[in-house]
């Protein structure tokens, strides 16, 4: 586990103490919160509010938004907690040189997250999904000069993006399968999807997206690493909101996809595994923030597990838990942040006795921890009761689910106790003298959020009817009645709660030995996800390097070999497809002069190849030129013959002039016979021979050349038809051609000029 840097907790200098953004962001959050709250009555009544503007109509994508029971809950959380986090950040990052950027990123995140949950269009959802990834990347790497922060940012980015890409594929398939990209339209008809041939790919792709975003096992490790971000970010993105995007998605597609065993098993198993593993790891942590991070993973695992069910109690449990967890976890994170800020450390072993100096914090920590541990009358209690009830209601594998729930809750009680007691009791262990709760901007958020835990617990009907019930109804696609009570009478859930408390306290007492035990256990594990990640990355780099070394060898002849081999291969392939059409070699028809010219060409080519000295090769090229010119001449092309001779002559002169600068016998020791090269060369040559034959044995369409022959004198007023083509019919070619020659010449001269300059120096 990479060590989380503690630098973000120290006080900053050099930056602005505040910024207009410091007012803007909370104001916007508050505005959004209030605006959304005003819609509550309508969603409570089961209404869906939509808003659409066209965006990319040609692809059926629109910038449409909607509000229903499910996303309103999330949106309220996002804007509400966003408000407190923004205020908290003003105090926490006061004086940070990059404060303005922080607010911008925070704003970007908040808007994206709201967009994500409110988007009615699948593609819009994806757009915001990726935007939250970007914001998260920038915020995790906020402390950008620390290597661990950069590593964590990259890890989170890559994992969530990989998932995001799967999600995109899944959403596109979903759009194709349902014929619409609009949630409202898609959800209006949820019957047939489980029969659709694309059901399984859609489901798997969406799950991959959701699981990676919500840090489900085996992608759970990025979230604790993401604690490299400043604490407000951890509180906001990595516990309260962004990581719940996956949960939101699962809830959103629940009515569409949840009817199969695949869904149930996938979510139940992954969720419970995540919960159990993270709970164990959480207990082990001595860094307060990491302990919180793992407990967040626990919560996410449990949420996933519950969403695997189709039962209304389980769903209600999940939704309530979303609400509860967001409040107490954000509060706890902020408290930890304050401790870190004030003492310079968040290591349990170095903390103690802060209760007197930081009374508000202690209060907040206690309240939140009690909620987390599930004590009445806190909202957490209701949440936990519901959880057990829900767990019992899950039909597939109640023992497993209940077991996972109880086990994780036991450990969570221990963790909560640790968080609420350890730093505040006992002797002071820190050097710093001036330790306090800090400014109100710091403690306002935790205070309100922790207090809400109590308030919600006391005013349950409001929550149940206003928030949870519409959300559950949305998820299940049918109206449901959800009722919260602090006292249900003595039943199985209550018994389970008691067991949880007892064992939880026991675990808290025995945390020293437990921690050591877990440590030993972990050491015996062959690997961890995080190490696997590193191994994966280095495998990737190794593959990349190996591939590059193999392909991009830096050797020109090898490049050319591959290119020619590719040419030969595809041509052979094309020939093989048409094997029955390969023309036979019918020799004949040539008279002796043509044979001679051809033989001269061929012999000169061979001589060029076999010549031991470049000068001999040049002589051979001269002979080749004569042979070519004669060929042209024999077949009625005097202009070509002349040009060939002139060009050949000038080139040979240039070559001889250049050779005066080059080693005279450069190829004295060249390997004349290279079987592999010879094989390839023969193959390419044969392919070209066959291609030429295949082309010229067919009848020719001469309309175009006939036109030139007919029009040259009457319309172009020239008797040399070739020249007329060059300067009139196809003058544009010729123009381009002289441009080429001009360019080639001055380019070559440039090479030489640079040389002269160099030697002049």
């Amino acid at each position: 586990m990479a060590a989380v840097q503690h630098e973000d907790g120290s006080s900053f200098t050099g930056g602005p103490t505040t910024s207009w953004l410091g007012f803007l962001v909370p104001s916007l959050a508050a505005g959004a919160f209030l605006g959304l709250l005003s819609q509550l009555p309508r969603t409570e009544a089961g209404e869906t509010i939509t808003f659409t503007i066209p965006w990319v109509p040609s692809l059926g994508i629109s910038a449409s938004f909607f509000i229903d029971g499910l996303n309103l809950l999330f949106a309220l959380l996002i804007s509400g907690i966003g408000f407190f986090v923004a205020i908290y950040a003003a105090g926490y990052l006061r004086g940070h040189p990059l404060l303005r950027r922080f607010y911008l990123y925070l704003l970007l995140f908040m808007v994206s997250m709201l967009g994500l949950v409110l988007a009615a269009d699948l593609i819009m959802l994806f757009v915001f999904w990726e935007l939250t990834t970007i914001a998260s990347y920038l915020l995790i790497g906020f402390n950008h000069e620390a290597k661990a922060a950069r590593r964590a940012a990259l890890q989170a980015l890559l994992l969530t993006t990989l998932g995001g890409l799967c999600l995109l594929a899944g959403l596109i398939l979903l759009g194709s399968a349902t014929g619409s990209y609009n949630w409202v339209e898609i959800l209006a008809n949820t019957d047939h999807l489980s029969q659709h041939p694309l059901y399984t790919p859609i489901l798997l792709l969406l799950l991959l997206g959701a699981f990676s975003k919500s840090a489900q096992f085996p992608w759970h490790f990025w979230l604790p690493n993401a604690m490299a971000a400043p604490t407000p970010v951890s509180a906001y993105l990595h516990s309260a909101t962004m990581v719940k995007a996956g949960i939101y998605l699962l809830a959103r597609v629940h009515p569409l996809l949840a009817s199969t065993e695949l869904w149930e098993w996938a979510l139940t198993l992954v969720g419970s595994a995540t919960g159990v593993i993270a709970a164990v790891l959480s207990l082990r942590q001595t860094d307060l923030k990491l302990a919180l991070a793992y407990s967040t993973v626990v919560a996410l695992g449990l949420l996933t597990m519950f969403l695997g069910s189709d039962d209304s109690v389980a769903i209600a449990a999940a939704i309530t838990f979303v609400l509860v967890h967001s409040c107490y976890k954000a509060g706890l994170f902020m408290v930890v942040g304050i401790i870190d800020h004030q003492t310079g450390t968040r290591d349990l072993r170095k903390l103690g006795g802060l209760g007197r100096a930081m009374p508000i914090c202690w209060f907040c920590a206690m309240a939140a921890a009690l909620s987390m541990a599930g004590f009445p009358p806190f909202l957490g209690f209701i949440g936990k009761e519901l959880k057990y009830e829900g767990a019992l209601a899950i039909a597939t594998e109640p023992i497993l689910v209940v077991g996972a729930a109880v086990f994780t809750n036991v450990l969570m009680v221990a963790v909560a106790a640790t968080l609420a007691l350890k730093p505040f009791l006992g002797p002071r262990r820190t050097q710093r003298v001036h330790i306090s709760d800090g400014s109100p901007t710091l403690w306002l958020g935790p205070l309100v959020l922790s207090a809400l835990g109590v308030a919600f617990g006391l005013f349950t009907p409001l929550i149940a009817e206003g928030l949870v019930q519409p959300a559950v109804a949305t998820i299940l696609g049918r109206p449901e009645v959800v009722q919260f009570k602090l006292w249900h009478g003595i039943n199985v859930p209550l018994l389970l709660s008691l067991i949880t408390l007892v064992f939880g306290i026991a675990a808290f007492m025995a945390q020293g030995p437990l921690r050591a035990g877990i440590g030993r256990l972990l050491q015996r594990l062959p690997t961890t996800s995080d190490r696997l990640w590193d191994a994966g990355l280095s495998t990737l780099k190794w593959c990349a390097a190996a591939q590059t070394q193999l392909l991009q060898s830096g050797l020109l002849r090898r490049y050319l070999f591959v290119i020619f081999a590719a040419i030969a291969t595809v041509m052979a392939f094309a020939l093989w497809r048409n094997a029955d059409l390969i023309p036979g070699l019918a020799l004949p028809g040539l008279n002796v002069k043509e044979w001679t010219a051809l033989a001269l060409v061929a012999a000169a080519a061979v001589l060029t190849t076999a010549a031991r000295s470049p000068l001999a090769a040049i002589c051979a090229l001269g002979a080749l030129g004569v042979g070519m010119a004669l060929l042209y001449l024999f077949f009625g092309a005097p202009d070509l013959a002349i040009t060939q001779l002139l060009v050949e002559t000038l080139f040979l002169i240039l070559a001889v002039a250049a050779l005066r600068q080059l080693p005279a016998v450069s190829s004295a020791r060249r390997r004349l016979l290279r079987p592999l090269d010879a094989l390839l060369a023969t193959a390419v040559g044969a392919a070209f021979t066959i291609t030429t034959l295949a082309v010229i044995q067919a009848p020719f369409h001469s309309e175009v050349s006939e036109y030139f022959i007919a029009k040259a004198v009457p319309e172009a007023l020239g008797r040399n038809i070739v020249n007329v083509i060059l300067v009139d019919f196809r003058a544009l070619d010729t123009f381009g051609e002289v441009v080429v020659v001009f360019t080639a010449a001055i380019a070559a001269a440039t090479l030489v000029a640079a040389r002269n300059r160099e030697s002049g120096k």
């Binding site: 202009d639 000038l650 250049a658 020239g718 010729t734 123009f735 002289v738 010449a745 001269a749």
Partner: protein, 139 residues
């Protein structure tokens, strides 16, 4: 190359080659020849000069920088192409001006096509000389 024979013969040969190149240029529209061929022959003439007297001497015999000559050639070819555009016809359309009789091969024709060919002649000549001089001066 410091050879009496070569240097002396060159004087005559260069003149001959240049004359021949102009001949090939002018008759190119009706007989084998044309701007390329003529330009290459003219380039051969200066190449001979450069071989005999050195590239520097050849350069000064040419008087214009060969690169400039080439650029002007391309410009001339381009201009002849654009003449038609100014006359409202598509670019590169041949523009003809006949002097004397209108009878077949007897008339003297001035045309943008010939100008185009002259442009090519100059461009090819200039470009070839740029190359030759560059490599010759290096050696």
């Amino acid at each position: 190359m410091n050879s009496v024979v070569l240097q002396t013969a060159t004087r005559a040969l260069v003149a001959l080659l240049l004359m021949f190149s102009v001949y090939m240029l002018i008759r190119g529209h009706n007989q084998p020849g044309g701007g390329f061929i003529a330009g290459l022959i003219a380039a051969a003439a200066f190449t001979l000069f450069a071989l005999a007297w050195g590239a520097t001497a050849a350069r000064s015999a040419l008087r214009v920088q060969p690169g400039t000559l080439a650029a002007l050639g391309v410009l001339l070819a381009g201009a002849s192409a654009m003449v038609a555009g100014l006359a409202g016809e598509p670019l590169f359309t041949g523009q003809w001006l006949f002097l004397g009789g209108a009878d077949g091969d007897k008339k003297v024709a001035l045309s943008s096509v010939l100008v185009f060919d002259i442009g090519i002649y100059l461009a090819v000549l200039g470009a070839a000389l740029v190359l030759i001089f560059a490599l010759e001066e290096k050696s």
